[in-house]
Amino acid sequence: MTSAVSQGPLEASRASSTVAPNRLARALIYAALILFAIYYLLPLYVMLVNSLKPLDEIRQGDMLSLPMAGTIEPWLKAWATAQIGVQPTGLKPYFMNSILMVVPAVFISTALGALNGYVLTKWTFRGADIVFGLMLLACFIPFQIVLIPMARMLGILGLAGTIPGLVLVHVVYGLGFTTLFFRNYYAAFPSELVKAAQIDGASFFQIFRRILLPSSGPIIVVTVIWQFTNIWNDFLFGASFASVDSIPMTVALNNLVSSSTGVKEYNVHFAGAIMAALPTLIVYIVSGRYFVRGLMAGAVKG
């Protein structure tokens, strides 16, 4: 501020002499960034363009060309009438399955993670660090290891092959991550606030709801994005634990694309793939700026 005010002609000329190389460097950086952005966006472009072409146009071989006779027919087919497994239902019911699975799983795992973080930082008990360490360990367990025990558990609980079963699997598996996020966030949350609220007479849950939760916006966004993306994109648990009427979107997309009968309808496949990716994209776009802010929060406070 003050240096800008005091900038005399001498400083100004010195500044302008350093501007030229700066501009060049900046141009180079932007050129590189644009190049990488194009490289990254290319697959999306190919998918989008080809999902809007009739099949014979794709067969002519030019994947990069714009559609000559644009059509939304592949989208309608992928959504409502494509053959998936034995039924010609399109992806619609499976999309619904995924929504019914993801929304409760994200909500429950986030809520429990927040509660865990609250208890592990503000109501510490003997061995709290060990409990946290064990929960942290859950983040490093590969999916494959839990498959068989999980199948057994779902069988015992009578949830095998159901959407609530999948919700349970994702909640249990996600709890390690959500607890980690919230614990680290709440560790930086001043304990004096909790003490003050105790003296004000607030109960365990009142303190959580009235004092901690209103300040948890950024970390909730981070957790929701993380959990939503992971659970929506999960294939292994869906393929292992779902039955015919609880198959999630990812597994259905695989069934659509890899069905071995008839012609390969690439345009329909592209449309279906975009549909499967759309919800996570929307979640990122809507709350992406909070994501970055959330990851930084706590690193530098105030």
Partner: protein, 371 residues
């Protein structure tokens, strides 16, 4: 009748004992200051009174009622925290009213109470702001407002002024004292600043390493420190603690202090404490506050026992209201507090007057006062 009583209180974290058999009491409307260096247990003691930390043994009574096992909200206390602990998501008014809201006080009553406290603390124009929009001093006031609105039996202050800049700290100190005189509520106040302790307290408790060193009025603590720790901790500049020897003088006991490149100073003691006779020929620690060691013109004319001697002045530090002079006695730098316009030059010899009726003696082994 004491209002807040702490009886044989002990507190341990695991194997570490942080408070050892603390006994304290303060009358209703008193101002108890817990003072000591960092890590002495003063904040822990305050937290146990608040009920935020359970105690290991002993008893805490507020207004004759045993509160050991009561929840903080049931102890009829209010606390002001060092970091103010304002709820960041609430406005000033909501912050002040939160406790009442939790207790289910109806809204009109709540608003009346908030308005009353806000007016008293001159924060009525800030009621709709969030804590992040307030300055340090304003936050401090809101934190006090949140405590005041409860109208509790005891106020607990945990180093409330340590985050303020020096000038504001002095202003708020006066404000707290004024509030206390006006409300007449019992206050327990934690600080590491001995000036805050002296100016605010009706009783001071000096703690060190979880042990209560001395408990008394500010003047008792200042004039009759029980050991060298209290003597050194209270007062600024600190009391001079000079290694010395007790000798047999012409008219009774005398005290002898070494000097570099000069014969030792010997001062006759007109009215030595009784216990000092046993130390004849042995070394003691001679404690004299800077203001009891001054130029002859500035000396207290009413003092019962004074002695004058020539001292070599090493350094002179004019401080505006006073002039401090450093001389060398018993192998240590000794600070004397002279009148501001005292005519004194460093590197020369000047007469200094010891007010011996204000001086104290300590055993060099136990560091306890010789009475």
């Amino acid at each position: 009748m004491s209002f807040l009583q702490i009886i044989d209180l002990e507190k341990s974290f695991g194997n570490v004992q942080v408070l050892k058999r603390i006994n304290l009491e303060i009358e209703e409307g008193g101002f108890l200051v817990l003072v000591g260096p960092s890590g002495c247990g003063k904040s822990t003691l305050l937290n146990t009174i608040a009920g935020l930390e359970p105690i290991t043994a002993g008893e805490i009574r507020i207004g004759g009622r045993r509160v050991n096992d009561l929840h903080p909200s049931k102890r009829d206390i209010a606390m002001v925290f060092q970091s103010y602990a304002l709820y960041p998501n609430m406005t000033v008014a909501q912050n002040i009213g939160f406790g009442m809201e939790i207790r289910g006080v109806p809204k009109p009553e709540r608003e009346k109470a908030i308005a009353r406290v806000a007016e008293m603390l001159q924060i009525d124009h800030l009621l709709d702001r969030k804590p992040s929009q307030l300055s340090g001093g304003q936050r401090q006031r809101v934190a006090m407002g949140r405590a005041l609105v409860r109208d509790p039996q005891v106020f607990l202050f945990d180093e409330p002024l340590s985050n303020l800049d020096a000038k504001l700290r002095v202003d708020m100190r006066t404000e707290i004292k004024r509030l206390h005189q006006r409300m007449g509520t019992t206050i327990v106040y934690v600080t590491h600043d001995q000036i805050e302790a002296m100016t605010l307290a009706s009783k001071i408790a000096v703690l060190k390493d979880g042990v209560l060193q001395q408990f008394g009025t500010p003047s008792e603590i200042y004039n009759n420190p029980i050991n060298t720790f209290v003597a050194d901790f209270m007062g600024s500049p600190a009391m001079n603690l000079i290694p010395a020897t007790i000798t047999n003088g012409a008219g009774g006991l005398a005290i002898e202090m070494e000097r570099p490149s000069a014969p030792p100073v010997t001062l006759p003691l007109a009215s030595p404490p009784k216990g000092l006779a046993a130390y004849k020929g042995r070394s003691v620690i001679f404690g004299v506050r800077p203001e009891a060691l001054t130029d002859p013109d500035g000396a207290d004319r009413n003092a019962a026992s004074i002695a004058q001697t020539e001292c070599f002045i090493e350094v002179v530090e004019p401080a505006g209201s006073d002039t401090f002079a450093v001389t060398h006695l018993g192998g240590k730098g000794v600070i004397a507090r002279l009148r501001a316009d005292a005519n004194i030059q460093p590197g020369t010899t000047a007469p200094l007057t010891f007010n011996l009726s204000k001086s104290v003696f300590f055993d060099p082994e136990t560091e306890n006062r010789i009475l």
